[in-house]
């Protein structure tokens, strides 16, 4: 039974326990990293030979690996218990302060060691009303004491349970493998819930799940960036393999029509066969295009340092989300949403814009590790400017952008990163669709070369006032977009957004190195708002 008193509650120091909780979080992260490093060695021992000695060595290496992995989760549990303890103590202390202030105002004295209250008769109040006031204060103090003692007992129990045994820590048993059903149950869950689930798996379970179900975990918002990258690189290889197999099969049928079941069908004659040949050629062309898109992503990943593949889908025009710099650790994250006509084959140029944004932001803040720029193509943009009036791609894209940003928030190590979303051209319309819901959790929105944000005034975007920024070059042909398509020009002062100075030319020059157009975006991304050169 806890012996906490109100005096002890008053004197408790939740900040010290938050600091301890962070130390446990850090320990869990380091054990996770240790396991990741260890597994490399473990696999190598398996390749080191055959025989009784090697078998014995493998057995010991596997046991130690289990032990290392099993230590991670208890460290996380301690961290969680301490965060909860610190939060709860803070709340109880505030309530105690309020109750004591109230007691003092009425001239009631409180013994913080016993919880008893001493109330002199009130000279001005009716005795019954006075009794009620005293009882109310007494009841609140009693409840606070009870809650503090319960918190003490619960936290004590949690902490005792996470104590390692001297010999084997938390055991050398293999963790229960995660089943596909368990992973599937996470699909559609809020990213914060997905992240909480993922954190409750041991490193060994996580590693297993990433290798077994990369198709489910790669695109799942709420999974940390480094783990999504692991899953998606597997997905990229698999998709390339599958596409090539399909293409080879079709190519074989084109080269050897007699092997095609359609040709073998005696009821199908000349025109049917010609049609079949045409269908096969088109299918082959589509597969080759998909393959080219995936290869472009693969090449770009191979030549880009610190890149994280957060999504890959080679079907159709293709989708990909690539971060440069780990967004889970960055203080500032920018999400770049491209516009009309983008497909995976353009990844080189598109990702270069993101890289230029990052380089420029690095320069203005002077700390390279603090910035992550994410190239986000998880929607199907209209294929040409002529189709740029379509609404549904923007709506679909906006709906996909919301959980992605929530995922960035959920997986960030400190939870206090500054997030900017940068839309280009039709990409600005996508961002606007997300913002209109009031659920886009970004700090800043930069719209460059926008055809319109499907709103009449910036206030309809439900973003922090003063944090919507528009850039429009004087000769950008997007100026010719009529208002009835996607709404009025957001660069117009009447729209109410900040318009920053641009010194570049055309619709796609906003990332020209050393330009004011790029520098202004960089200042916004790192929150140096006073350095942004504005037109209005």
């Amino acid at each position: 039974m806890s012996s906490v008193t109100l005096a002890a509650l008053q004197e408790a120091d939740p900040a010290a326990y938050r600091a301890a909780a962070r130390a446990w979080d850090d320990l869990a992260a380091r054990l996770d990293a240790a396991y990741e490093q260890y597994v490399t060695g473990q696999q190598r021992v398996g390749q080191g030979g055959r025989g009784a000695a090697i078998r014995a060595a493998i057995g010991r290496v596997i046991d130690t690996g289990h032990e290392l992995s099993n230590a991670c989760l208890p460290a996380r549990q301690v961290a969680r218990a301490l965060h909860g303890y610190a939060d709860e103590v803070t709340t109880l202390q505030r309530r105690l302060e309020t109750a004591l202030a109230s007691a003092s105002a009425y001239g009631i004295s409180v013994d913080l060691n016993t919880g008893s209250v001493t109330a002199p008769p009130s000279p001005s109040m009716d005795p019954t009303a006075w009794r009620n006031v005293v009882d109310e204060i007494h009841a609140e103090l009693a409840q606070l004491l009870s809650q503090a003692r319960r918190l003490d007992a619960t936290t004590s129990k949690l902490l005792r349970a996470q104590r390692p045994t001297p010999d084997a820590g938390f055991g050398r048993d293999a963790a229960t493998p995660v089943t596909r059903d368990v992973v599937e149950a996470q699909l559609g869950q809020p990213p914060a819930a997905v992240f909480a689930w993922w954190q409750m798996l041991s490193p060994e379970q996580q590693e297993w799940a990433l290798q077994q179900y990369p198709d489910l975990l790669g695109p799942l918002n709420g999974i940390p960036a480094a783990d999504r990258d692991t899953a998606n690189r597997i997905n990229l290889d698999r998709q390339l393999r599958e596409i090539r197999q399909q293409a080879d099969t079709i190519q074989y049928l084109i080269n050897n029509p007699w092997a095609d079941p359609v040709y073998q069908d005696p009821t199908r004659q000349g025109p049917d066969r010609q049609m079949r040949r045409h269908e096969l050629s088109e299918a082959l062309q589509a597969l080759r295009a998909s393959e080219a898109g995936l290869l472009a992503v693969q090449d770009k990943l191979a030549t880009t340092d610190d890149a994280y593949l957060l999504l890959i889908d080679g079907t159709g025009d293709g989708r990909a989300v690539i971060a440069v710099g780990n967004p889970d650790h960055a203080a500032h994250t920018a999400v770049f949403v491209p516009g009309v006509g983008t497909d995976l084959r353009d990844i080189n140029g598109d990702l270069n814009r993101a890289l230029l944004l990052r380089q420029s932001a690095d320069v203005v803040i002077g700390r390279g590790d603090d910035i992550s720029v994410v190239y986000w193509l998880d929607y199907n943009p209209p294929n040409s400017p002529l189709l740029g009036g379509q609404e549904s791609p923007a709506r679909d894209g906006g709906a996909a952008l919301l959980p992605f940003v929530d995922g960035l928030r959920a997986t960030h190590t400190t939870g206090d990163q500054h997030v900017t979303v940068v839309g280009h051209s039709y990409g600005t319309t996508v961002v606007a669709e997300a913002a209109k819901t009031g659920q886009l959790r970004v700090d800043d929105f930069i719209a460059v070369g926008s055809p319109g944000l499907r709103t009449d005034h910036v206030s309809e975007l439900s973003l922090p006032p003063g944090h919507v920024w528009v850039g429009l070059a004087s000769d950008d042909p997007i100026r010719l977009a009529p208002d009835f398509v996607h709404g009025p020009d957001p660069a117009n002062p009447a729209y109410g957004a900040n318009r920053f100075l641009t010194d570049t030319s055309g619709h796609s020059g906003y990332w020209e190195p050393d330009s004011q157009s790029l520098l202004n975006q960089a200042h916004i991304i790192v929150g140096q708002y006073d350095n942004v050169v504005l037109v209005h």
């Binding site: 010290a16 301890a20 320990l27 240790a34 030979g49 000695a53 010991r60 290496v61 996470q162």
Partner: protein
């Protein structure tokens, strides 16, 4: 092992000492990630049992993390020794054969 047991054994033995040594290096490299457990404990607050429990839990972890680091180091060392043993055994076994004038595979 007795001579009978040796002749009855049909275990296939194949060892790559270089891979074993690389594995040892990898495992050794995991050890520095296992911290010494500094700052895991908070201050002990009079009356709060959980603050005492945290101190005890943190101490148990500090002791355990030290052992875990040692365990990883020992494992790496044993793997290197194993690689060395095989190299020596192979060398010794080879030395027991008379010079055949050069083996050409």
């Amino acid at each position: 092992m007795s001579t009978d047991a040796l002749s009855a054994s049909s275990v296939v033995i194949a060892v790559d000492p270089t891979t074993l040594r690389q594995a040892a290096t990898d495992i050794e490299a995991a050890a520095p990630y296992v911290t010494d457990g500094g700052q895991l404990a908070g201050p002990v607050h009079p009356g709060w049992e959980c603050t005492q429990q945290l101190a005890a839990t943190a101490q148990a972890w500090v002791d355990y993390l030290g052992r875990l680091r040692t365990k990883l180091g020992d494992l790496a060392s044993d793997l290197r020794n194993l690689a060395d043993h095989f190299v020596v055994a192979d060398h010794d076994a080879g030395a027991g054969w008379p010079d055949s004038g050069g083996y050409v595979p």
